[in-house]
Symmetry: C3
Subunit: 307 residues, 3 copies
Amino acid sequence: MLKGKDILNTAQFSIDELSLIMDTAADYEQKVKNYEIIRDMDGRVVACLFFEPSTRTRLSFESAANRVGARVISVSSAGSSSTAKGETLVDTIRTIDGYIDVIVMRHPEIGSARIAADNARHPVINAGDGSGQHPTQALLDIYTIRKEKGSLEGHTITFLGDLKYGRTVHSLGYFMTMYKNKMIFVSPESLRMPEELTADFRSRGAEIEETDNVSEALSRSDIVYVTRIQRERFNNPEEYEKLKGSYIIDRNTINKAKKGITVLHPLPRVDEISTDLDDYEGAAYFRQAHNGIFVRMALLALVSGVR
Amino acid sequence: MLKGKDILNTAQFSIDELSLIMDTAADYEQKVKNYEIIRDMDGRVVACLFFEPSTRTRLSFESAANRVGARVISVSSAGSSSTAKGETLVDTIRTIDGYIDVIVMRHPEIGSARIAADNARHPVINAGDGSGQHPTQALLDIYTIRKEKGSLEGHTITFLGDLKYGRTVHSLGYFMTMYKNKMIFVSPESLRMPEELTADFRSRGAEIEETDNVSEALSRSDIVYVTRIQRERFNNPEEYEKLKGSYIIDRNTINKAKKGITVLHPLPRVDEISTDLDDYEGAAYFRQAHNGIFVRMALLALVSGVR
Amino acid sequence: MLKGKDILNTAQFSIDELSLIMDTAADYEQKVKNYEIIRDMDGRVVACLFFEPSTRTRLSFESAANRVGARVISVSSAGSSSTAKGETLVDTIRTIDGYIDVIVMRHPEIGSARIAADNARHPVINAGDGSGQHPTQALLDIYTIRKEKGSLEGHTITFLGDLKYGRTVHSLGYFMTMYKNKMIFVSPESLRMPEELTADFRSRGAEIEETDNVSEALSRSDIVYVTRIQRERFNNPEEYEKLKGSYIIDRNTINKAKKGITVLHPLPRVDEISTDLDDYEGAAYFRQAHNGIFVRMALLALVSGVR
């Protein structure tokens, strides 16, 4: 169903494709946990082209590729030496496309993943293109929700923090809409979810509330997805200092929230989730990061057509 | 025939060795295209030491090593940390030689590949040593000509652009002489093929013409090998601007050239080949880059003695 | 015996554990030299996290991991991009821990290896934490002594050079004490072995002499372990220039030393061992570096529980 396809954005997936990805990921998770040796991509080479540094995402993809049996070649510097010589992205991709079987690419420019996909004969997986898409993050987010909650439907999920610039909440909001969940958007006024996205989600049938009352929202939520509020987003530093505290989640916040609430975060965190929460059973953010391995194994295997 | 040997320069090869390399490369190409799993270098480790960055060449060697079943360890930064501490190249090589089975090295200093080979017990493959040699590029060039044209002999090949500083045209000229081809050197006066090379090729029986008439040369050529003319080569920027246009190859140039002409370029290109040529059937420069994988697989396997 | 354990410092090992490591290393050395294909860590992924650059140590670990059948993912830059975003080491480790089976880490801060071990469910191997420990270097040192001398006991070993700041001599001194060897410490007054270490070694039964007479010490030594004296350690450059010569080992020094003396050095060297010694039979420093592969293969396999 996904053989030969590019993974470029969240909007491209049907419910059936999402189910296939998650079922495949769950199967790989089981195999990895049993130390089964997986040779599905034996003989295949995956290029991890990180033209913008992202150690965490690169290591996750490289580990996933190795765990599913592929070999990996990598670029992890800001600019490749060919780019420095004036080569276009199109030429870089057309060249490397002849070396490998799958391309994973992160690039600072929005739309670059599409350019790569249009010029490569092999499948391209978008590992983030600027402020554009980062679909594998959203896929591991829903995989985590399915695992933590048993299903992907019928939850109340609060998105907390910077909802304006947060690429991950935009993508996850899209998926949560597909699966008929209620969403509560909690953010400072200046960092609200963009109106066109809210409108789009509503037009697809999503039930949405917006508020700046964190504790009230959490008292009704099954899941909270936390994102960092960056100082740089505020013209007025005092406004940042005033707001900051209300958007920090700690043990105390969670004690007053709905029982069993699951806490998610795309990581890295700075101080928006207190470390005193780390041993709370519902603190799922590290498990969430670990799930990325299985989702990426599934994607690599599926687009390669070996599954 | 090549077991245990270093690959340092183009002059080291006999016709028999070149045939062996190309036949082995062709065999690997077939296997890769059939998705056969190749374990020829199973258990072997290849060190890719790029003391001078060259993303394209590094990725090509790393992919080749992986495709032929070897494992890869890499240095891709300008200076290793040991070099920074004052270690000599000899000591660096003697140390790493004990970690691996084959060394691939790129280094900014001419003659460094020979120093590495003299101090390593394992085979060394020169991936470019400054303005010195880059033999695997010349090998993939002739492999490409053999594939595109059916044979390596009896062609008229135009070398176009900067023939003075272009390492690749010097090496390919040497091979073309071995295989009895006619060569036309087309360059600005100040960037002519060095006289000692022209004399050397002639002394080995090569038929050579020199001209600055691009279109006349191409009307008689089976192959054109294009290289970039760099602005920095000219004392007078106006002279560069004046000349530049005549050395750009586009669809129009090729329409007036000999029918079926094959266009080669070592890549990366900037604007010396117009993108409007990319879908011309004889535009072989991306296929040429891709062929590097098979030629490098062959070299790694042959010097390791596993083929 | 070592399954699931962290390798953090030299003091953690029992004699039985050291024997197991060395016997396992010797077994792997034999297999590698016979080109046997080793699949002991097939399906496992090793993270080599070099938050402080060390090309030599990184390549040694990466080669070892590949030779023992594992796959490798690497960080080789000073700071990972997540650290740059303000993430703590604890969070970095907790995240990456979910991607892999073993962590190898080098970090500029003393104590960081312990922090990593405390936060990872998988084994952590300390590849150097600032001025702290670098246990795998000391392990390859004793493996080398055992190979070169036939046993680890009853030798007279001179430690030469900077004994104050030299992490490697501190660790090796500890092991030499365990195995009942006599130690002679030869250094400039200002770079003497720290008194607390000398006292500790003596309290464990070590026989120790201290002197600044290099040639007299070497006339009685079975082994000399040379370390570099760095100019930066001296307030007075003249003092450095005056001393430097006495601590350079060359062919002439060795001709006057005890017959059959073995010369060790952790590398890289600058000029403290003259290259005219390199073909001396007892010059074991390159063999010593090469032995690191087998010791690290053993450690990776043992902590993973596959041996």
